[in-house]
Subunit: 470 residues, 2 copies
C-alpha cells in the first residue's frame, strides 16, 4: 500500500514545539529533525544546526530532502482524536436544546442508519477524513455504524489517505435503539464485529496505519449477554475496546435501571470483561471516586470530550482531579455531540470547561493550563490509543506524525495580512515571544494555520500556503 | 466623505434570514431587498419575486444593479459588537491563568500605553478594523486608549472603511493604573475627552458612521471627582457612555472598598450621573437584584461578553434572567479579555455559557436558544447602541447593514469542497433544511463564510469567493 511505501529521507528545519511533560512545553526556536525512509525520527538537533554540516558529517543524509519553515511557523506533533463518530459528521452543529438520550433518537440514529447505502457512506467518510486531516489529526479513534461494508470502507479510506485510525463497527442490540437500526441478535453482533476486525487486519496486517476496535456503543445499547460476548471477542482477538461512560446524569440513572445487579456504570463494563488497559472510555463526567479507582486499577483510558459535554449540556468532567489521580487522558471531538472536528478547538474547550469548573467551585485548582491541554491533545491522546511509544512528540525512534503551523504576519501598513483569508485568524505583529506565538495559535488558530500534515513522514494534507520541499 | 457618498440603487436577491423576535428567526428562502441611493431599504419582497417584474413595475428601479446569492448562501444582518478594546488586539489569546485585576497590569496597561506612538496605533487599528469587518461586524463600540491623537485616528479609520463605530477615549485618573499610563488630572481627563468628542463630531457631523462615546474605564480607574466630571461632560455633550460593571468578584469587592459610601457598584455610576438610557454596561456578571432593578429603571443597556467571562474566569452572566426582567442586551467580543474578534464566535460562547449555568443549576431554564443568541448579536446589539430604528434587521426604512453568508458545498465525491480552504468549515450535503443550514453556520461557521459585508448599502469587505454585482 502507498501508506507504507518507503519515503525519501527528509530533514525538517525550523522551530518546533512539543510537550516535554504535562506542565511544560519544549520550544526549540531553530532545530532540525531527521526522518528516515520508514518515517522514523533518526536525529533531533536543537541548537540552530547547519544543514550542510549535518549532510557532510553523515553521508547517509547527503541526499536528504529539506522541508523548511518560513515565516512565523513551527512544527508541532499531529493531534490525536481519541473519540469521534464519523457517520455523524453531517449532523455537526445540529442539536437544538436536546440532551443525550433524545439527541440520539432525533439526530443520530436516523443519520447512522442511512449508512447501509455505501455510496452515501463513501461521500461522507471521504469528506470527514479529509476534514480531520486538515485540522492536523494524524490519529483518530472512529466509531462507524453497525454496517460491516461501510465500516470497512472507512478503514480503506483512512489507509489510503494515510491517517492512523482505530475503526470500530458499532455493536448495539438492545431495544434502546429503534428497530430500524440495531443488531438483529447477539450472534450477529459478534459475527459482524468479527468480520470487520478480520477485514481491517487483512488490509493492514501490521496495523501500522489502521486497526480494528471493538465498539459496544454504550451499556444501554447492549444487553448483558451481548456485552459479555463482545468482551469475549475483544479478548480473543486482542483488540482495543471503545465505549461511552457516565456522560449524562439521566444516562447514569438509566444504566442503574437496566443493570440493577451492577454496583455502578463502571461495574457494568468491569463485570463484562470490557475494562482493560486497551479500553478507551469516552466522557467520564459523573464518575464516583470508587469508579475512578476501578478504572485506574484496570488501566483503562479516558477520552475527554469538552465541546460535546458543553454542547449537549452533559456536565464538566473534572479533568484536573483525574490527572492528579494518575489517569491517562486524551481529547476527543465527539462529532456530532461535539460541534467541531478540530482537536485544537477542543484544546480551547478543555480549558474553558476547566474554567467553568473553577467558577463553580470558586477555586483555581480545577484550571487546566495551555501546556496541559496541549499535552492531552498529543502525548495524552497517544497513550490513550496505545501509541505513546510511537507518536506524540519529537524524539529519536518515534515516527514523524506532525503538522506545520504557519501564523499570519501583519505588514507594516496593518491590514489583513498579505495572504488574505488564507493567512487565517492569527495576527503576529513581530514583537511576540515564542511562547506568545504558540498561545496565539492555541487561542485563535484554525485549520488555515495547519498548512501541512505528515503521518510517518508521509505528507497527507497540505494547503495552498505550503511551500513544499526545497 | 466616501462613507456617505450616494450609491447605486441595488436589489439584493436570494435567501435572507433575520430575527423576527427574540425567539424566532424569519427565514425567507427566496426574496428581494431593494436598497436606495442612501443605503435605505425601500422594499422587501418575500415570495420568490421576479426581478424583471420588479423593474418593470416601478421605473425608478429599472437601472438598479443586482446582487445575487449563488450556492448555499443567504443575507444576514451585520453583527453589532457592543464592547471591545481595539488597542488590545495584539494581546488576543494572551492571558495565561490571570484574572481581571492582574491581567490588566500584566498585559493590558503596557500594551495600551504604547499607543502614544501614532504609527504603531495606525498599524494595529488598521488591522483590527479590517478584522472586525471581515467577521461581519458592521457596528462596533470601541474603547481606544487615553491618547487623543490615537483615538481620533481610530475614528478616522472607521469612517474611511465605512464601519459604524462608537469611539471612546478612555478616562482613567486613579492610581489603580500605573503612573506611566493614566490621565494626569481630572481637568486633563475631561479636556482630552472633550477634544476627542469635538474631533469625531467634526469629521462626521451627522454621526451616521462614527460617534464619540464617553468612556470612564471602570469605577476603580477613576476618582469620584473624575466620575462626576465625566458624567457632567456626557450630559453636556449628549453623548453615549460606556464602562464596565461587576465583571469579577474581586473587582466588586474593590469597588466597595474604594467607594464605601456607595450602596453597590451600580450605585457608584448612578450617583455620578453615569447611568442613563445612553449608557452601555459591559459584563454585568455579579449584579444583585436591586442593582438590576436600578439599571432597568435608568434604561441603561447591557453588553454580554461570554468569551471574555469564560477566558479570564469572571463568571457566567445570567442572561436568561436578565432577558426575562426586560433588560436590553447585546453581545461584545471584549478583545482581548475575549479571545476572538468574531461576534459569531460569541453567539456560540453565549450559548455555551448559558449551558454551563444550566449545568450549575441543574435546570434548563438558563439555556439560550440559537435564535435568542442571534437576536442578541443583531437587534439586541442595535438597541444597546441606540440604533434599533436603523439596523439589526431587514425592514423598509432601515439601512442596509448586511453580510452575505455562503456555506461550503460537499461534492458527490466527498472531499473538502471545490473551493478548498476558502470554502470554510461548514459542510452542506444538500439534504439540509434551511433551519439546519443556519444552525450549521452558527455552530461551525467562521469569517470564510462571510464573503461580503455592507454598511448602509456600501460594500465594506469582500473575500475571493464574492462574485460581486451582476
Amino acid at each position: 500500500m502507498a501508506a507504507s511505501a518507503s519515503i525519501q529521507k527528509t530533514i525538517y528545519l525550523g522551530p518546533f514545539v512539543h510537550s516535554q511533560s504535562l506542565t511544560e512545553l519544549d520550544i526549540c526556536e531553530q532545530g532540525a529533525i531527521g526522518v528516515d525512509e520508514k518515517g522514523v525520527i533518526a536525529f533531533v538537533e536543537k541548537s540552530n544546526p547547519d544543514v550542510e554540516d549535518i549532510k557532510s558529517k553523515d553521508s547517509a543524509w547527503k541526499d536528504a530532502q529539506i522541508v523548511k519553515i518560513t515565516g512565523n511557523g513551527f512544527f508541532f506533533p499531529g493531534f490525536i482524536d481519541t473519540h469521534t463518530h464519523a457517520p455523524q459528521h453531517p449532523n455537526t452543529g445540529l442539536f437544538g436544546k436536546t440532551t443525550l438520550l433524545d439527541w440520539l433518537q432525533t439526530y443520530t440514529f436516523p443519520m447512522e442508519s442511512s449508512f447501509k447505502d455505501l455510496n452515501r457512506a463513501d461521500r461522507i467518510y471521504q469528506n470527514f477524513v479529509a476534514r480531520t486531516l486538515s485540522h492536523g489529526t494524524t490519529t483518530c479513534a472512529y466509531y462507524a455504524t453497525i454496517h460491516v461494508p461501510a465500516t470497512n470502507l472507512l478503514a480503506d479510506i483512512c489507509l489510503k489517505r494515510g491517517q492512523r485510525a482505530l475503526v470500530g463497527r458499532v455493536c448495539m442490540n438492545s431495544d434502546l435503539s429503534p428497530e430500524y437500526y440495531r443488531d438483529a441478535s447477539v450472534e450477529s453482533s459478534v459475527a459482524d464485529s468479527k468480520a470487520s476486525i478480520d477485514y481491517i487486519r487483512s488490509i493492514d496486517p501490521s496495523g501500522e496505519i489502521v486497526k480494528p476496535i471493538v465498539t459496544p456503543r454504550f451499556a444501554p445499547s447492549c444487553t448483558s449477554e451481548c456485552l459479555s460476548a463482545i468482551g469475549q471477542l475483544a479478548k480473543e482477538t486482542d483488540t482495543h475496546v471503545q465505549t461511552h461512560i457516565s456522560e449524562n446524569k439521566n444516562e447514569v440513572a438509566l444504566v442503574q435501571e437496566l443493570f440493577p445487579e451492577s454496583k455502578s456504570y463502571t461495574d457494568v463494563y468491569d463485570t463484562h470483561a470490557l475494562l482493560g488497559p486497551k479500553t478507551i472510555l469516552a466522557h467520564a463526567v459523573h464518575l464516583s471516586p470508587e469508579e475512578r479507582q476501578t478504572i485506574l486499577e484496570r488501566g483503562s483510558k479516558i477520552s475527554h470530550c469538552p465541546a460535546s459535554n458543553t454542547a449537549i449540556t452533559s456536565g464538566c468532567s473534572p479533568i484536573r482531579t483525574l490527572l492528579n489521580e494518575g489517569h491517562t487522558i486524551g481529547l476527543g471531538t465527539d462529532i456530532s455531540g461535539g460541534f467541531h472536528p478540530s482537536i485544537l478547538d477542543n484544546v480551547r474547550q478543555a480549558i474553558w470547561v476547566s474554567r467553568h469548573l473553577s467558577i463553580q467551585t470558586s477555586s483555581d485548582a480545577a484550571k487546566l493550563s495551555t501546556e496541559e491541554a496541549l499535552y492531552l491533545a498529543t502525548r495524552g491522546g497517544a497513550a490513550v490509543v496505545g501509541l505513546e511509544d510511537k507518536v506524540g512528540g519529537f524524539e529519536v525512534g518515534k515516527e514523524f506524525d506532525a503538522q506545520m503551523i504557519v501564523l499570519g504576519e501583519v505588514g507594516e501598513v496593518g491590514g489583513r495580512g498579505e495572504g488574505g483569508i488564507e493567512e487565517g485568524p492569527v495576527d503576529v505583529f513581530g514583537w511576540e515571544s515564542w511562547g506568545e506565538k504558540v498561545e496565539k495559535w492555541v487561542y485563535a488558530g484554525d485549520d488555515r494555520n495547519t498548512v501541512a500534515v505528515w503521518v510517518r513522514g508521509r505528507l497527507v494534507h497540505k494547503t495552498g500556503k505550503y511551500r513544499g520541499q526545497e
